[in-house]
């Protein structure tokens, strides 16, 4: 028993029981278990619910089922080898994970990232944002019983994944971002294809609107359910579309621009009351804004190198390996040992599809990070489950959970 953490002990102390809910009431309070393998918990999340009839009176989320120890693993690896590892935390926002990490290391190294690399990063991240929101919309609609929307969303997601496959060689976990830039330039024809995709995407998102915006069943399930006010959210540290749905326009892309976001014109969609419908509308509008950003970035895509020319950090171009001894030596050194990072610590926050994703890196001067920590927005946002769904119907809890959009890979890490 002593080996158990306090958290686990509290988890085990919960008894599943049925007891009278109070004097003169016929209802009983019933504590039941939902998950971890429940189709509507969006990953392996376990909820312990105390129900009075169909009303949720108390709710305790239990996490940790997909804990992978990625943060610890990262301490054993050279800096560049950490990138494919951290990408696997929040599996719907891999470009954001790797950018948060690369950005933190770049800040420690004080390397300059070429403009073209920054633009390519923006394009990929915004495509990733669209993709993540599509998965959110599709899976949420399944929970609400609208399976058609799911098919449509996954069709478009497929198109984004195809674009990722074309530019970076893999559909998920692409390790395209490297410290100092991106690993390869985009292939010929890719830019036109992305352009075509944003066109289609705008058109398609109108179709989602036509299906959902005024659908009576959707309205009944969404409007005024799962409402949490701005104060509570701020107290809990919730960020991203959940916070913006309450009317607070906090968006790091505008509030503290990184990666050339100041070059682009885009709007921050905000809601008014912070109920599920506002969350839906905000994310839906963000898809369109992301299309805008991508189009602007493609139009303004500067020429130039796609990765920093600093040979201490970036691998030399392949063609130099055959001709230049110096390049070969750098290559050997970077591959076997990796680059050294000056001692220090840095926190680098970015706006992921779910909110503020921050990466903390501490360096002790060696070629492996001494500590890597991610502030994952899903983890923080999950705290809003209880205030959002206490004293609502259990069916609304499912809808609210879907609209909170937690990704359990990111929560547990």
């Amino acid at each position: 028993m002593s080996a158990l953490s306090d958290y686990r002990r509290r988890e085990q102390s919960i008894s599943y029981s049925a007891e009278p809910a109070g004097m003169g009431l016929e209802q009983e309070l019933m504590t039941i278990n939902m998950g971890p393998h429940h189709p509507s918990t969006h990953g392996v999340l376990r909820l312990i619910l105390t129900l009075e009839g169909e009303i949720v009176r108390d709710i305790k989320p239990i996490i940790g089922y997909v804990h992978t120890g990625i943060e610890k693993t990262a301490e054993q690896k050279a800096y560049w080898k950490v990138i494919p590892v951290v990408e696997r935390m929040d599996y719907l926002a891999y470009y954001f994970n790797s950018y948060a990490y690369c950005g933190a290391v770049e800040k420690l190294l004080e390397v300059e990232v070429p403009k073209r690399a920054q633009y390519l990063r923006v394009i990929h991240m915004e495509l990733n944002r669209i993709m993540s929101h599509l998965v959110w919309l599709g899976t949420s609609c399944i929970d609400l019983g609208a399976i058609g929307v799911w098919w449509y969303c996954f069709r478009e997601r497929e198109a984004v994944l195809d674009l990722f496959e074309m530019s970076s060689g893999q559909r998920m976990h692409t390790r395209y971002f490297q410290v100092g830039g991106v690993i390869e330039d985009i292939p010929r024809g890719w830019a036109e294809r992305v352009k075509r995709f944003t066109q289609t995407m705008r058109h398609r998102s109108e179709q989602y609107s036509a299906l959902l915006d005024k659908n009576e069943i959707f309205l009944q399930r969404m409007r005024n359910t799962g409402t949490v006010d701005e104060e509570t959210l701020l107290d809990l540290g919730v960020t991203g579309p959940l916070l913006r749905a309450t009317g607070n326009p906090w968006d790091l892309r505008k509030a503290a621009p990184y990666c050339s976001y100041e070059d682009f014109r885009f709007k921050i969609p905000v809601g008014t009351t912070g109920d599920n419908y506002d969350r839906y509308r905000v994310r839906h509008a963000e898809i369109i804004e992301s299309c805008e950003i991508i189009d602007q970035a493609l139009d303004g895509l500067p020429e130039g190198p796609f990765i920093t020319e600093d040979r201490k950090v970036a691998l030399p171009p392949r063609h130099e390996l055959a001709t230049s001894m110096e390049a070969l030596i750098h290559h050997f050194k970077l591959v076997t040992e990796g680059f050294r990072v000056p001692p220090g610590e840095v926190y680098f926050p970015i706006e992921s599809p779910r909110g503020e994703l921050g990466c903390f890196v501490r360096s002790d001067g060696s070629s492996k990070p001494a500590r890597v920590h991610m502030r994952d927005p899903s983890f923080v946002n999950l705290q809003a489950t209880a205030p959002a769904s206490r004293d609502t119907y259990i069916a609304d809890l499912v809808a609210t959970l879907a609209m909170l959009d937690p990704v359990l890979g990111g929560v547990d890490r």
Partner: protein
């Protein structure tokens, strides 16, 4: 509100109140409009592949199963057993044991060759760092993605398996497809 981005903010539209007369209209009118959207999709071409009869084509950069290469003219292996790929692998799934080439037994073009070269594909995360690390282009990521098997031990690919041509080729997409 501590921070105000000014006119960069757009408020999204609120939902109409559910129920009431509007609700009665929406229950019919909007449902019909939704049906129009779904039925409209019937005219579009299906986007699915009939896998496994029809293989999904991949793009040239796709990183699938690894391949080891030989020189086309001499037939010697390109790999010289330098273990750089093993050093670069984040999943630690490559094992290289090098041995000296002798005049009677020449396997590779360099001084040494890989006597053992194994990749444990059940650990591999297909990051392609081995391909990036190899200074001699001896290992590349191929295009095959059908690698499942019944035993974990069968997923440890030996040098012979990696040098061999795949039984079935994965279709490639062209750039403007």
């Amino acid at each position: 509100m501590a921070w105000n981005p000014g006119e960069d903010v757009v408020a999204v539209q609120r939902a109409p109140k559910p129920g009431g007369a509007g609700g009665a209209y929406r229950a019919f009118g909007e449902t019909l409009r939704g049906l129009k959207t779904t039925f409209g999709r019937m005219l579009e071409r299906p986007v699915v592949y009939q896998y496994p009869e029809e293989k999904v084509p991949v793009y040239p950069r796709f990183r699938g199963r690894h391949k080891l290469h030989k020189f086309a003219d001499t037939g010697l292996e390109k790999c010289v057993g330098c273990s750089l790929c093993a050093a670069a692998c984040p999943a630690d799934c490559i094992r290289v044991v090098a041995a000296e080439n002798t005049p009677e037994h020449r396997v590779s073009a360099g001084e040494r060759y890989a006597a053992v070269y194994e990749i444990n594909l059940s650990r591999c995360i297909f990051c392609g760092y081995c391909e990036v690390a190899c200074p001699f282009d001896a290992i590349t990521m191929g295009h095959d993605y059908e690698m499942s098997d019944y035993n974990r031990t069968d997923l440890i690919f030996t040098k012979e398996m990696l040098l061999a041509e795949p039984l079935e080729r994965t279709p490639l997409r062209t750039e403007d497809e």
